[in-house]
Amino acid sequence: MTHSLHRLGTEENLRHDFCIYTRAAKGINREHCGDGLRKTLKIYISEDVVNYGSSHSGKSFMAGLDPEEYAKTLDNSYGVIATFADREAVAGVLKKAKEEQIGISTVVSGLIDEVVDIAHECGLHPHTATLSLGIYGKTELLPKREILEMTTMCGHSLIAAGLVKSVIEKIKAGKITVEEGARIIAKPCTCGIFNTRRGCALMKKMLEEKCAGCSDD
């Protein structure tokens, strides 16, 4: 899975959007990695985490995943993932993971320059990057860019464009708040990489600009 790679956005609105994925490697450090993953989860939660989750548990923190129950399942897993909205939290996670010498591969998604800077700040050398080269093919099938900035926050494409439009309509009609809307949209993304804070900011901007066409295609 290329997961958090193809999050669409501007440099400005991606500046407060990071995902950290800690994943054990098959045949190298995956066996008995449960304790390392539990330590990692504890570190994630100790910082200002926005969301986290698990596809095999079938729900995210935003959808009610209980961290203690989730921690118990990590003997049957090989990775944990969480979402953050500021660089201080990301630096906090990396520093603690380094100090504790957990030794499990860790990937940070975010603006390239920002992530490299954070790695240096933590005394780390970035090892490998996966770059996003954009979308090709029959792109006329896609919804408007503002909607894609929301839906691409689920790396498995489980957030429907129709759901975002429906939530925006409910907010416009005064039936729900922006924050409630972001939680509804986060629900299908079981990995917990839908950044509800960024989602709120994006929807507020759409509503301010009246997002012509956000709900009519």
């Binding site: 790679l5 669409l8 956005g9 970035p126 996966t130 090709y136 919804p143």
Partner: protein, 240 residues
């Protein structure tokens, strides 16, 4: 997925959740167009149906249809690799596996992303073309098991019309082949009836830089400002 018509009250609460728009209201009932449905399970998992009318019928677990849920629901494992999600390792553990060394690249072509879904026949257009160009198709990938054994790049006929939310094709090549591969593969995307999101794996150089970005830009490709970066915390570290 299917909706039990006896239980359904036609409230339509499940409709907006479908990532591929396969759910609609028909008269006083909500229905799922089963050939368009990718069996991702979102409509059931979000638990919005007040009558519990949405279910996965037994035939969804039978081949060839079973590949829909394997490629669409990240909570279902790919049986050949015992992995969740889209089943690819790419650079997530490269600091300990050394799968991609300096001077090597990996290209990840994700069909159907974002949000359109894809028939397997669309992927076949590219796999057949890749084989004609002499490019290998990596084995450590869930798509490999669906291919015909003659290595023509064609998929087994029973899978060709199946629809999945997305699937990733991987290509690995050397530094000297970058321009040639981009020039040969990217024009093929114009033949697709779906979309692809493309990613490229590269090692950082000794100065923590990514010189490949300038080369990609010279080829006319847009490189997004955000990326996934393995920060080298895995042990034992492979850093040749």
């Amino acid at each position: 997925m299917r909706i039990d018509a006896e239980k359904c009250i036609g409230c339509g609460r499940c409709v907006p959740y479908c990532p591929v728009n396969a759910i609609s209201l028909s008269g006083h009932k909500t229905v799922i167009e089963e050939d368009e449905c990718v069996d991702c399970g979102v409509c059931k998992r979000v638990d919005e149906c007040p009558r519990g009318a949405i279910f996965m019928p037994a035939e969804c677990f039978e081949y060839p249809r079973a590949i829909r849920m394997q490629f669409s629901d990240p909570g279902v494992q790919h049986p050949n690799l015992k992995s969740w999600g889209r089943g690819t390792e790419e650079a997530k553990t490269n600091d300990v596996t050394g799968k991609f060394k300096r001077g090597e690249y990996g290209m990840f072509i994700e069909f159907g992303r974002p949000g359109t879904g894809t028939r397997i026949r669309e992927i076949e257009k590219i796999t057949v073309a890749m084989r004609k160009l002499g490019l290998p198709i990596l084995k450590d990938n869930p798509l490999f098991g669906l291919l015909k054994e003659d290595l023509s790049g064609e998929f087994k006929p029973e899978f060709v019309n199946e629809k999945v939310l997305s699937a990733i094709l991987e290509v690995r090549f050397n530094d000297s082949e970058l321009e040639d591969i981009v020039g040969k593969i990217f024009p093929l995307f114009d033949t697709l009836e779906t979309v692809v999101s493309v990613g490229l794996v590269s090692r950082f150089d000794e100065n923590d830089k990514l010189p490949v970005i300038d080369r990609l830009k010279k080829l006319g490709l847009s490189v997004r400002p955000n990326a996934k970066i393995n920060v080298g915390l895995g042990r034992p570290l492979v850093d040749e």
